[in-house]
């Protein structure tokens, strides 16, 4: 068994840094029933970057996403999202900020009493006094992005797990948010469907330049994202030409025992000498 590596020491980001980054975590701690889940973690998500978060079950990966969205409040520390300190904001103020953020939940969290159309259009219908006819075009556009245009009148219960995940992505991107948070988008899916979803995330990163935090257990998905780019002309994901690895804005973050033990790109991860990390990626 590898010895626990030391946590990464990072300088405390200033609020000015927070304005230039999409997300900044600053010494964030949270515990549930006396069990410390995150213990003073700090990291940054640069604008336009996609950062994959790894860690064993219960390491606090999903908690990071919920903290970034203001769904949970940390016990200590500050979290800046698009320049705003979410730890100091009231719920009513957070609703405004959340309109700039999209989230894909682990189990999709689609509204089961609404059709796919109503699910995808939910944010548009809530945000403005628009009719259902007026949202038809953006709904179709979002669903065509995930290649599910033919499911508009279906209910979530009539869709497969992979389709539900893609509808959740369509719902998250319909307003072209500045930040996207993916909670295990490929978890429990077959390899073909997983690849489709990875392709959608890469497309979102390379076409819309959206900043994203991605929680996953599947290292191969993150490596695929780090070694592929989205070809707009061919409308498909393609491997980076040899020698261009590291050219895509993709980073990795590994959690252990409530601490960040790695924060860097795919090349640095592959070069890591840390036993735990080597064991993790092997």
């Amino acid at each position: 068994m590898a010895a626990p590596p030391s946590a990464i020491e990072q300088g405390i980001p200033s609020q000015a840094d927070a304005a230039t980054n999409a997300i900044v975590f600053e010494n964030v701690s949270i515990a549930f029933d006396d069990q410390v889940v995150l213990d003073g973690i700090s990291f940054r998500l640069a604008k336009g970057e996609t950062k994959a978060i790894f860690g064993i079950a219960g390491a606090g990966k999903s908690t990071i996403l919920k903290l970034a969205l203001g769904l949970l409040k940390p016990d200590a520390g500050h979290i800046y999202v698009l320049g705003d300190d979410v730890t100091q904001m009231r719920e009513a103020e957070l609703f405004e900020l959340r309109r700039k953020i999209g989230m894909v939940f682990q189990e999709s969290a689609l509204f089961d009493s609404l059709t796919v159309r109503e699910n995808v259009a939910f944010r548009l219908l809530e945000e403005s006094n628009v009719s259902e006819e007026q949202v038809e075009a953006p709904v179709r556009e979002a669903l065509s992005f995930v290649e599910l245009e033919n499911t508009v009148d279906k209910f979530p219960s009539e869709l497969s797990g992979g389709m539900r995940r893609r509808v959740a992505i369509a719902r998250a991107i319909i307003t072209h948010p500045e930040v996207l948070l993916y909670d295990s988008p490929t978890g429990g899916l077959d390899p073909v469907t997983s690849t489709t979803i990875v392709q959608l995330i890469v497309k979102q990163r390379d076409v819309y330049k959206t900043s994203s935090l991605l929680v996953t257990h599947r290292l191969q998905d993150a490596f695929t994202m780090a070694t592929h780019y989205f070809d707009r002309k061919a409308n498909e994901m393609r491997p980076l030409p040899p020698g261009e690895r590291g050219e895509v804005p993709m980073a990795f973050l590994i959690l252990r025992d409530g601490k960040v033990i790695f924060d860097g790109d795919a090349h640095e991860l592959a070069q890591s000498k840390d036993e735990y990390i080597r064991e993790y990626i092997s």
Binding site: F95, E96, M103, F105, L110, F122, R123, E126, R171
Partner: protein, 269 residues
């Protein structure tokens, strides 16, 4: 062995922690109720959701309200007739059913019926949304779940219970009139005449204030237990049961307090 296992699994809670837990629950309930009311004065207002809930609570509860109203009025007439006959005052049966139904039985029976049907429905629906992260998704999409889910339910339940109680009162009187005329040969016209004349403003006021309070209790308690649901489907089931029990008990307690208060205010006869 089995008993030992069972005892070892019992989690002992200190009295302080227990009281703290209950006080916290009351505080959370008060905050939820306060926000549900405060949301009435801010945009957006979800009229479509209010209409949908009004249909579910009002139209959906109509059959049980009709049945219980009719049967309670008939039973009240049937039970009181024997006593009144002993004193040769059978003609007062209309008055007795009228005051009993309008002031007390109509609101409370309707409240309890609607609580059984709708507090459980609200708790299970919202509870299921909580455990499947739909409430978190709603918050993530920039929508206030209390404004979207709780406020429309509170408004609709208060509004519809008011009218359901009026329907229940009338049907109770009707049930009493059927029993009085068919079983005891009382004149139909006399029954309705005395039933109408005995009622004063205070009776009607008391009978119509209660459904407003009961409606508020049913919706807020149902939604509170739904939002507080934890622990998967088992938690939702527990929330549903607790919602019905708590709302029913609260209805009975509030009924007693309101009756006493209004009697004092009106210096009741």
């Amino acid at each position: 062995m089995a008993a030992g296992d069972f005892l070892s699994r019992i989690e002992l809670v200190s009295p302080t922690a227990f009281i703290k837990d209950k006080v916290q629950a009351v505080q959370d309930y008060a905050v939820l109720s306060g926000r549900a009311i405060a949301n009435l004065f801010s945009q957006p207002r979800y009229f479509a959701d209010m209409m949908q809930q009004a249909d579910l609570v009002g139209v959906g509860s109509l059959p049980i309200v009709i049945l219980t109203g009719l049967s309670i009025g008939a039973e009240l007439a049937l039970n009181s007739a024997n006593t009144l006959q002993r004193f040769g005052s059978l003609s007062l049966i209309g008055q007795l059913v009228s005051v009993g139904m309008v002031r007390e039985l109509g609101p409370i029976i309707t409240g309890l019926m609607v609580a059984g049907r709708n507090a459980s429905g609200m708790a299970s629906e919202i509870g299921s949304m909580v455990v499947t992260e739909q409430i978190d998704a709603m918050r993530a999409l920039g929508t206030d779940p209390i404004k979207k889910l709780v406020t429309p339910r509170v408004i609709s339940t208060v509004f519809m219970l008011f009218f359901l109680t009026i329907i229940s009162d009338l049907l109770g009187l009707f049930g009493g009139s059927i029993v009085s005329s068919l079983l005891f040969g009382l004149d139909w016209h006399q029954y309705w005449n005395t039933a109408y004349q005995i009622l004063v403003f205070q009776d009607v006021f008391m009978g119509l204030v209660k459904p407003v309070l009961f409606g508020f209790i049913i919706a807020t308690v149902g939604c509170y237990y739904g939002i507080s649901a934890r622990g998967g489907t088992q938690g939702v089931g527990r929330a549903t049961t607790q919602a019905v029990v708590t709302s029913s008990v609260l209805i009975l307690v509030v009924d007693l307090l309101v009756t006493k208060l209004l009697m004092s205010v009106f210096a009741y006869r």
